[in-house]
Symmetry: C3
Subunit: 366 residues, 3 copies
């Protein structure tokens, strides 16, 4: 069935990868050139991805052949093979060469919606506001405006910028950090929102706004690129969002989660607004991403698991991630049928729910 | 063989569940009505439990059929199907409708013993004592008296009330917290023991008393209902109980443990007094509870794993939990035989030990 | 193929185990006599090890038969059966009865190299230096000298002595701890380096020295004997070593890792200098050690996983650990071939890399 990919990123305008290094970068969270040169080729996930892409392109499973064959194939043609019914795109992470929403809609014949990246908005709003309060109001005002214009959710990458061990920030530290960053912004220097005081302040403000707007807050959890300290990214740190009555209506989509997916599944089992996915772990963690999906289904209700690729830049990433995710889901659900845990009908219904139904309900897509 | 269920709770006097919501509440740690209404039915564990109960009752696997068929079946009749030789009951968690020990013994034809819930005793003793020292003495005195009258162990739910990151509490904070709570108690207001200073003070005192009395201290670890912060419930936080010579004779039964079961198994492998179970994870975490049991057997000696259902309220919970626990154990041990890790005889002996022998030795039941 | 065992310890001069208790101590991290007397015999890993050794010796799988048969077999004869091409030995952990490097080289016909145990060097240098700075200089000077004389790496057991949550120690606390320990050393009292201020100071100094010398720093991570607090031993705490430019050239071998092996694999996937092994977990965690190896291969590049036994004292430990490690690796890689993740050729190449190639490159053995 046509899936809803609730968390992915735009393709590059430049099209297909031009070198082996570009191809490898698409299948690892590593940023270091030595890793990509010497170790990424030895990832199980990368070895497998190469073979998958080669199969789709009808060429040999070598980097040279894949790059050559790929340069003659249109991105949209590969995107169609992912059997995706809707892309929910985060345009906040991209870099200069990423397609704009308009370009993307024109280039890829799959319906598309947007989520707003919180930290990008917060950074953009910084130079125009002299006080914390007016700044956070401006940020939530912008989120409201973007949702009014069609955005279906908000995304935070606080995991990278401050970690996820939430507590109410000390107002003095918030003030101090704000003055420093605002001064930079006013001087025209580039600003990067980071540190608990500011990041958690805007995160709490955005959570309240999302609760009010009725759109989910996507939270990057678990592993990612080495800018983050993995020790600070367990979704258990988000507990204040789940127990404080101010956020009672908030819906949170925990993204990636690995290796904290059992913890994420627990949260999904007891808190009404918590959803989760295993994107990024599938395909990056190869067979162990598939095992993580099965582990998560221990506690996560079948109505709370979401499908996503977290793919970015190249259509082949969508292709590999979508195929592996469907297979991991089929393997996990098939195993549950074989083990007598679910009936065949329940497993089929669960597959449909995870691939599309849960996201359609959560993001109010119908 | 007849199992020793070393950690379970009394049935309700009202008998069978009267509604789908009551039935669902029995198979989830969620408390939120939205979760129970909309998501608990989509738990793998709940889908499976429905089918198990329907099979036992000879009816269709729908909530309506199960509720109807169940209303005509006696709780004790289902309890007999669990093949349990002894129930070790925690009457401290119940609510008004739970059977008293006397009612329970009359209603269920299975031998029964009790564990004392520490926090309940500590709350009851609060109004009569004006000083910390006399209060904790009264608490341990009551534990001693209850053990003399037949209790086989003490149980702590510090995980819910304060977390398990034990350290010696600051005396000033203890005093302050005590005065506040005692004042409430004297005013006739309801009191709830919570926070590290008081909870850990009574936990250390109870640990010393248990060591002296020769009865195990049961400690809720890992997941549970959302009152607890899962991040604070790893059994690794209990280390002071394992390395401080004052508690050298203490025996601790780590309950549930998931998803910290590998950590619990490690503790069981190196500290003489540490035992563990996978109750609650089986049946709540479905197939992943069974996998967790296999994971725990990596380090946990076969002489240290205990069997329990953590069942409560309804006989069908005992029925499902006991069946799944036996199957998980059979699968794990069978897998070890298939993999050449254990001989058939060793696996059979291990099964007997886990189902009953280990608990009989630990609780001195013979 | 002949493996490189990059992390193991010397045999005892006294030869084979003389009692069941000695045999059991070789297959557990427990130190407590009650555990070893009553529970170690019930470890899956120990049951299995007994059978393995009995098979190799052609005797019955009982402790008595094994001890008797073993007393007639030469250690070197068993060591040859491990098909090891090189032993990288840590002579720092041993006790009085361990063979010296010279004795070991004479007794075991397998090429041998050494790693230097940091904490042992730091303790030995303590009495001769009155200031922190000259002491750490002397420590790194000794590391340099030992590497010049042939040592291929440095090993830290900071996990036992201070935990692995690294941050730059407070200079005042460092000074205070140094004065106290130095005073003990000057008085001729035995000294034990422990606590974050001193342990992390020498760890950072050693890391800088290793980076400069081009030799890897081995770091004990994850489980071990109960001297350590497992909660403090996640390799994620080592992040300062991976992101601080001062250590850009540092190569780190994360030893053992269990149950933090998914975290270790993540670090290996993004940081160029991070390698890991599953020693100790294999064989101590039996089947779950093998599962951990498969889990680690989710993110860990095949070029970054190392083979080791962590064996010590008796040749039978080398025998069992080496056999189980090869089998775990074969099972994990075979599973990847069966699941379509790797080709047969890739799996074979990966096996060779893990068993020897990766270590040969990392330790510059060729």
């Amino acid at each position: 069935m046509a899936a809803v990919d609730h968390n992915c990123h735009p393709l590059l305008a430049s099209g297909s990868p031009r070198s082996a290094l570009e191809l490898r970068r698409a299948f690892t969270e590593a940023l270091d050139p030595v890793v990509i040169e010497s170790h990424t080729p030895h990832l199980v996930a990368y070895r497998h991805a190469l073979r998958r892409i080669a199969e789709a392109l009808g060429c040999e499973a070598t980097e040279e052949s894949v790059l050559e064959a790929r340069s003659r194939v249109d991105a949209d043609q590969l995107m169609q093979q992912t059997r995706t019914g809707l892309l929910i795109l985060d345009h906040g992470y991209a870099g200069g060469d990423a397609m704009t929403p308009e370009q993307h809609a024109a280039a890829v014949r799959i319906p598309q919606r947007e989520v707003v990246r919180l930290e990008t908005v917060a950074e953009e709003m910084l130079h125009a506001h002299h006080e914390i309060g007016t700044w956070t109001d401006a940020v939530t005002g912008e989120l409201r405006a973007r949702v009014r214009r069609g955005a279906v959710g908000v995304k935070t990458i606080s995991a990278y910028r401050a970690g996820l061990r939430l507590s109410v920030p000390d107002p003095d530290l918030v003030e101090e950090a704000f003055v420093e960053l605002h001064t930079r912004a006013e001087s025209g220097l580039p600003v990067r929102l980071e540190g608990e005081p500011l990041c958690h302040t805007v995160l709490f403000a955005a959570a309240a706004a999302c609760a009010e707007l009725g759109v989910p807050l996507q939270v990057h959890c678990g592993f990612g690129d080495p800018d983050e300290d993995l020790a600070l990214t367990s979704p258990l740190g988000l507990r204040p969002l789940f127990v404080d009555p101010r956020y009672a209506q908030l819906q949170v989509a925990l993204l990636h989660c690995y290796p904290y997916h059992r913890e994420a599944a627990y949260l999904a089992s007891v808190f009404p607004g918590v959803y989760m996915d295993l994107s990024l772990a599938i395909p990056m963690a190869a067979h162990d991403g598939a095992r993580a999906l099965s582990e998560a289904l221990g506690l996560c209700p079948l109505s709370k698991l979401l499908y996503a690729t977290d793919a970015t830049r190249y259509a082949e990433v969508f292709l590999v991630a979508s195929a592996l995710h469907r297979e991991a889901l089929a393997a996990a659900l098939g195993g549950l049928v074989d083990g007598g845990w679910l009936s065949q009908d329940e497993a089929v219904a669960a597959g449909r729910a995870v691939l599309a139904g849960n996201a359609r309900r959560l993001y109010r897509l119908d």
